[in-house]
Amino acid sequence: MQPALLDIDDLTIEFATRRGTVTAVEQVRLRLNKGETLGIVGESGSGKSVTSYAIMRILDRAGSIHRGSIRFSGIDLVGANERAMRDLRGREISMIFQNPRAALNPIRTVGKQIEDVLREHAMATRANAREKAIAMLRAVRIANPEGRYHAYPFELSGGMCQRVVIAIALACRPQMLIADEPTTGLDVTTQKAVLDLIKDLTREQRMATLLITHDLGLAAQYCDRIVVMQKGRIVEAADTATLFSSPQHDYTRRLLKATPGPESKVADLLPEGDARRALASPPNPEAPVLLSVEGLSKTFGAPGSPTSHRAVDNLSFKLHQGESLGLVGESGCGKSTTSAMLMRLLDQSAGALWFDGQDIGAIPSKQFARHPLRAQLQMVFQDPTDSLNPRWKVRDAIADPIRRLGGTGDKAQLRRRVEELAENVGLPVELLDRYPHQLSGGQKARVGIARAIALNPKMLILDEPTAALDVSVQAVVLNLLVDLKERLGMSYLFISHDLNVVRLMCDRVMIMQAGRLVEEGSTERLLNAPEHEYTRTLLAAIPNPPVPASA
C-alpha cells in the first residue's frame, strides 16, 4: 500500500483561554489518499474546523498543537517552520471557507486576488498573470471572465464569490483541497453547482479533498469516506456506504436520525422514548380561513424607472386555522418581503390582506404596531442571536410583547406568565435571568419562540427558525414547534429553503421564484409529484442521506 498523502496521528490541539486550557481536538487520527474525498462531519464545537486549521497551521494565536503528528506527502507539518508552510499553502494544500463574501478582500478586484496567489508561488509572471487569472475564472465557470476580472466581491453573488474563492484555491493546482463548510448559507441549487464544480475540478486534477460539513446528506453525496467527530474526538470512521447502512456509534446513529430525510416524520428526529417527541395531527380541511391574501404585490423603486424592482408579484393564498403552510424559495425570491408585508412592517404596493375576518391590508404599517390585532400575529426569526437584544435578560425579552401589547401591569402576574412560557418551550426557569450570550443556540431559539407565543397569537410566521442550528438541536426545536401548534392551536407560515424540513413541518407548500408563486399544493403531492420545472430543480438539488437499512 502506498503511503497516504495526508497522515494525521494522535493529533491533540489545545486552546489557552481565560479559564485555563481547553482541549479542542483530542487524539485525532485520519488518513487521506491521493484522489480521495474524505468527509469530516460533526456539529458545532466538534473540532472539525480546528483540525483543518491545524493542517494548514493557521490556528489562532491561542491554539497550539499539543501532541501528535501531521504528515503531508512525507513532510512533517507540525515541525515545519512558517516559511516552509507558506510555500505549501496555496501551492500544495489549499483551503476554501464558509461565507465566501467575507473570505475575499473587499477592496481588491477578484482578478487581482487570483493573481496574488499565482505570483506568490511563481506560477505566473507579471506578463501572463492576468491571462492566467482569467483562465482560472473561466475554469470555475464564471460567465464573462474578462469582465468579472475587474469586479469587486460586493458586486458578485454569494455563489459567484465562492467560485472565486475556489479559483484562488485551485490556481496553483494543489494536491489537496480542504473545504470548510463551503456551501453554508448558499441556496440549494447554488450549493449543488458549487459542490459539483469542486468535484469535477478535483477529479480532473486528481486532487485529494477534505470536506468539512455539518450536513450528513452532503457528506453522503460527495465523500468516499466519512469520519464523525464529537467534542474533539473521532467517534466513528467508515466508508460512506457502511456508515449509513450500519452506523456503529451511538452518536452517529443519533445524528443520522436527526437529519431530516425524505421518509422521516418529525418525531423520528428524536430517539425513541424521548419525551419531547411530538405528533402532528392530520390537517382539518374544514377549518375556517385565518389569513387570506389576494393579489399581493410589492414594487421597490419608482414605478417605470429602470431601477424599479418587483419583489413580490400578485401573490394570492389562504391559510386555514391550525394549518401549517410552507413558503419555499431561494434568496431574493421575495419570501422576506412577503413576511414583512404580512406582519405589516411594510406597506404593500397592491393587494388585500384579510386576517381573522378583518382587512389588515388597509391598516398602514406605521399604525399596525399599536393595533390590537398585532398581538395575534407573531414572528420567529432566523438568527436566534441577532434577534435578541444583547443587553436584555431573557426574562425581559419574553416579557417585552406582554408589556407592550398584553396590558398586564401587575408585576407578579407578569413574572408568573414569563415562567409559564419558559416552561412551555422547555427553557429551564433559572436561565431567565441570564443574558443571550450566556445561552446556547438552541436555548436562544427557545427564547425567540417563547417571546412569539407570549400573547397567545393565532398565527406565527417562522422565518427559517432552525437554519442556524445544529441538526440535533434542530430536531428538538422542530418537535417543540409541532407540539406548541397542537397545544395552542396556532397556524404557521413556515418560511424555509430546506425542503426536507418543510416536508416534516407543513401540510401545504408554496414554491416562490422571482416574486411569483410557481406551484402550490399539499406537501405530499408537491414533493412527490412536482409539476413545475423549478420545483423539480429544487428537489433534485437537495442532498439526501441514504436511508439507513435498519431505521
Partner: protein, 342 residues
C-alpha cells in the same frame, strides 16, 4: 462620463454644505453678540465717557436692531468683506490670510511627524499584541492625550533651548536675522527652498521643529490608537485567513490585505485630528509666539472683536467643509463600495 459624474458629486457635496455654512454664520453671529463685553467700550478706550461710547456705538452700527446688523453682515460677506478687526485695526481678511498659512504649516507638519511615528507604532502594536511594542504604544498614547501641550511645549523648550541650546529662541516663525521668503505656498520652509535660499529654509525649519513636535505628540495618540484598533479588527477578518491559507507572504497579507482595509478609519481620524488641531493649538502658538489664527481668535474673543471672531469661525467652517470633502474623495479612491453607493 465617469469624470463628469465625479465632478457632479463634488459640486453636489459643496452645495450641501451651503445650509450648514449659513447655520454657522448665524450661530457665530448670535453667540458673539451674546458674549459679555462691549466692543464700543473697548474701542473708545479707558478715558471715554458715556457720550463718546454711544457715538462710537452708532458709528459701528451696533445700536441698530440685531436682524438689521445680521443682514448687513450677510451683505458684506457676499461681497467678500469680513470687516475690520478692532483690536488690530487691520481688515479681518488680511489678518486671516497672513495667519492661516502659519497655522497650516505648523499643523500639517505636526501631523506629518505624528503620522510617521503613529502609523508604524500602531502597525507594530497590532501585529504583536501584548508585546513590549504594544505596551509602548499604550504608554505613548496615554501620555500623548494626558500631557497638556503647554506643558510638553515648555518642557521641550527647557531642555532644548534653555539647557542644551540646540533650538532657536521661541520667537515666531523666523529669527529676526532672516527676511521672510516670497510667498508661494505660505510655508516659510517650502517657500525659502523654492526661492533657492537653504539658509532661510533651515532657520524656518529650526523654528518649526519644536512647536511641531509639541503638537505632534498630542495628535499622535488618536492616530496610533485608531491604527492599532482598526488593523487588529481587520487582521481577524476572514479574508485575511484566506490570504494566509493561499500562502501569501506575511508582508503582502499585512499591507495589501490588512492595512489597506484598516486605513479607512485612520483617514477619518486624521481628518478629525486635523480640524481639531488647527483651531485648538492656541496653547502651542502662545508658548512659541507662533503667529497663527488660534491665538488671533482668542485675543479677538477676549475683547469682543465681533468681526474677527466671526471671520475666524467662518474660516474654520469652510476649511472643515473642504477637509470633509477631501476625505470623502480619498474614501472613494480607497474603497470601491463607497463608489457604488453614490
Amino acid at each position: 462620463m465617469r469624470v463628469s459624474n465625479k465632478l457632479k458629486l463634488v459640486l453636489l457635496r459643496l452645495l450641501q454644505a451651503v445650509p450648514a455654512l449659513f447655520g454657522i454664520v448665524l450661530v457665530s453671529f448670535l453667540l458673539t453678540r451674546a458674549l459679555p463685553g462691549d466692543p464700543a467700550v473697548y474701542f473708545a478706550g479707558p478715558m471715554a465717557d458715556e457720550q463718546s461710547i454711544a457715538e462710537i456705538r452708532q458709528q459701528m452700527g451696533l445700536d441698530r436692531p440685531l436682524p438689521l446688523q445680521f443682514f448687513s453682515y450677510i451683505g458684506d460677506l457676499l461681497q467678500g468683506e469680513l470687516g475690520q478687526s478692532i483690536s488690530t485695526g487691520q481688515p479681518v481678511l488680511t489678518e486671516l490670510a497672513s495667519r492661516l498659512p502659519a497655522s497650516l504649516e505648523l499643523t500639517l507638519f505636526a501631523l506629518l511627524l505624528s503620522l510617521l511615528v503613529a502609523l508604524p507604532l500602531g502597525i507594530l502594536a497590532a501585529t504583536r499584541p501584548n508585546s513590549w511594542v504594544d505596551h509602548l504604544c499604550r504608554v505613548v498614547v496615554t501620555a500623548g492625550v494626558s500631557l497638556p501641550t503647554f506643558f510638553t511645549g515648555l518642557l521641550l523648550l527647557y531642555i532644548f533651548y534653555f539647557l542644551l541650546g540646540w533650538a532657536p529662541s521661541p520667537m515666531g516663525r523666523l529669527d529676526f536675522a532672516y527676511l521672510p521668503p516670497e510667498t508661494v505656498t505660505g510655508s516659510f520652509v517650502i517657500d525659502a527652498l523654492l526661492a533657492g535660499d537653504p539658509e532661510t529654509a533651515r532657520a524656518a525649519f529650526a523654528q518649526l521643529l519644536l512647536p511641531a513636535i509639541t503638537l505632534g505628540l498630542f495628535t499622535l495618540a488618536p492616530i496610533a490608537r485608531m491604527t492599532r484598533a482598526a488593523l487588529i479588527q481587520v487582521l481577524e477578518g476572514e479574508f485575511i485567513r484566506t490570504a494566509r491559507a493561499a500562502g501569501l507572504a506575511r508582508r503582502k497579507v499585512l499591507y495589501r490585505y490588512g492595512l489597506r482595509n484598516a486605513i479607512l478609519p485612520v483617514i477619518t481620524t486624521l481628518g478629525m485630528v486635523f480640524s481639531f488641531a488647527l483651531g485648538a493649538n492656541v496653547l502651542v502658538e502662545k508658548v512659541f509666539a507662533w503667529p497663527g489664527i488660534g491665538s488671533f481668535a482668542v485675543e479677538a474673543l477676549v475683547v469682543s472683536d465681533y468681526a474677527a471672531v466671526q471671520g475666524f469661525v467662518l474660516c474654520m467652517a469652510v476649511l472643515f467643509v473642504l477637509l470633509n470633502l477631501l476625505i470623502d474623495v480619498i474614501y472613494t479612491l480607497v474603497d470601491p463600495r463607497v463608489r457604488m453607493e453614490s
